[in-house]
Symmetry: C2
Subunit: 152 residues, 2 copies
């Protein structure tokens, strides 16, 4: 398999995984500290989806770190296939969750006038912003993985 | 370039493009015939995104039909790169629009009790469902295109 920046076991891949993990964790932290998120299905879905993202990215970050320490590329066809499937599933779920929550945030902030629950509103916005950042980094990872798989 | 089902200029590709076009058009028709969609930013965004999808899919359907009639595969590296970028952009926009609208539909149907604007509600749901179907078919197309580009 070809070897380029971002493939499993490289420093770029590790940095991307850590960024995904941190953004997803920040999104959960920001959302979970509001007092009314459980009234909104989309916000609960965001927490669930970001939770999955945190687990997945943390696992792959550990794997990348292990490969870096052992100086060994993880370019096994079966493993890369698994990475591709996992990355695509989490990327799709993250984008859907971020967009659904973003839609509701815009509804409350823009369409129905102003948001009347004070600091809660900023936390919702912050959480959605972190979710989009997390999605973007997973999206980059998933493109690299898919390219690696297809290019053989 | 390799030749498999779904690559530009094949019958599968044409069928996928027609499905994308029809689903996106159905989504717009269902949403645009409601009387209050313009009060919701997400629903306006859905119409804009599905409008882009209709134009893109219709254009590529014509191109595929032309290639089928002329019995000539469209496997030029530059053209496939353009198809990949266009497919990815429209797929991402479609998923984001469908999810944002879906989030608001769930908010009104489930979180805030029942939807009180009668047949309008069913039209919103129908529009979101068609948008997700359209996204799914673009997603399949974009995966095929990306694979074709990467596999060279």
């Amino acid at each position: 398999m070809k070897d380029f920046a971002g493939t499993p076991g490289t420093l770029t891949a590790l940095a991307l995984r850590i960024a995904q993990f941190l953004f997803a964790a920040a999104s959960i932290a920001s959302m979970a500290t509001t007092s009314s998120f459980f009234n909104f299905t989309a916000f609960c879905y965001l927490i669930a989806s970001m939770g999955l993202q945190v687990i997945w990215s943390f696992g792959l970050a550990l794997l990348d770190a292990y490969a870096l320490v052992r100086r060994q590329a993880l370019h096994n066809q079966i493993m890369v296939s698994l990475f591709v499937i996992g990355d695509w599933v989490t990327a799709t779920l993250s984008l859907a969750a971020a967009s659904a929550s973003g839609g509701i945030t815009v509804l409350y902030f823009h369409d129905l006038g102003e948001c009347t629950i004070g600091t809660e509103c900023q936390k919702y916005q912050l959480s959605v912003a972190f979710a989009f950042l997390s999605w973007f980094t997973v999206f980059v990872s998933s493109l690299i993985m898919f390219w690696l798989l297809a290019a053989g």
